[in-house]
């Protein structure tokens, strides 16, 4: 192999490290939310970056590398991991009202909770409660909620990443929000932070 080729490969590796591997933490956390376990998340992240590296020449330099990596990750998850985690539960998300948490607080008429929800409710929940509430969401909803809430992608970016219509992003996000709020409320009840039915 020539020195020229060697230095070309080295340059490619360095470029990939600088542009793509800086997103390792974000990609890992998304993988963890989706697979729900560390071993699968690590495998998924490795597969994502290896695939990204193989197709690095087709990545349009200067465009959004993070979004491109998330697209690879979600595709891999849908094709390889999705089947593993067959979710058979039915979610009655349409029974859950919008602004669920606020409405529960209002119904409970707890003035402190209503006026300072951040300290009186959310700060009392454990990191694990919040993460579990996310992980309990059905896969399709979880994906868009994490991409929006955690990663801050726009609706259009999410549509491109997941490969769905803009309207589907909106409806999944809306339903995901409702279910998430119900779940957070249930954790708050279980922890004794608020009074109410946890079922």
């Amino acid at each position: 192999m020539t020195d020229k080729r060697k230095s070309k490969i080295l340059r490619r590796e360095l470029e990939f490290e600088r542009e793509a591997l800086v997103h390792t933490d974000a990609v890992y956390r998304m993988a963890l939310r989706m697979t729900k376990n560390r071993a699968d998340a690590e495998d998924l992240v490795q597969e994502t970056f290896l695939k990204a590296y193989r197709f690095w020449d087709s990545f349009e330099k200067g465009s959004n590398c993070r979004a491109w990596l998330f697209k690879i990750l979600t595709n891999l998850f849908i094709t390889s991991y999705h089947k593993k985690a067959k979710e058979k539960q039915q979610f009655a998300y349409d029974d859950v009202e919008s602004y669920y948490l606020y409405n529960q607080m209002e119904a409970g008429n707890d003035k402190q909770l209503l006026s300072d929800p951040e300290h009186m409710l959310f700060n009392q929940l454990l990191d694990d409660d919040v993460r579990k509430a996310i992980e309990e969401l059905p896969e399709d909803f979880r994906m868009v909620v994490v991409l929006s809430f955690v990663e801050g992608f726009s609706y259009q970016e999410i549509a491109d990443i997941v490969g769905i219509q803009l309207g589907t992003v909106k409806s999944r996000l809306h339903r995901g929000r409702k279910l998430l709020q119900k779940s957070l409320w249930q954790y708050a009840v279980r922890r004794g932070i608020v009074k109410g039915k946890s079922g």
């Binding site: 290896l50 948490l101 209503l114 929800p117 929940l125 909620v145």
Partner: protein, 93 residues
């Protein structure tokens, strides 16, 4: 804009997905309506809580190193194949 209209647009407002005109209208409503403002605050806090709590998972220190190692391995294989091809080319009978 009344409460019903504002609440219909609230999620898009919070996600910065409204036109500037709609955005201003929702914002104007939130300034005058305590209840809708409180709902918006709740939604903002929930988003923030989820964002923060989902960013505290420790990332395995070795993960990046392992990815780099696998990439190098991939490159070595392709280098090897390429030099084999060259050799085949030069030593073709």
């Amino acid at each position: 804009m009344d409460c019903k209209q504002a609440l219909m647009k609230l999620y898009n407002y919070l996600d910065n997905e409204l036109s500037p005109e709609d955005y201003s209208e929702v914002e104007a409503h939130l300034k005058t309506c305590k209840k809708c403002f409180a709902k918006a605050q709740y939604e903002r806090i929930i988003q923030e809580v989820v964002r923060k709590r989902c960013q505290t998972d420790p990332v395995p220190i070795s993960l990046k190193t392992e990815i780099i190692a696998r990439i190098r391995q991939l490159d070595n294989i392709s280098q090897k194949n390429s030099s084999d091809n060259n050799r085949n080319f030069f030593f073709r009978p």
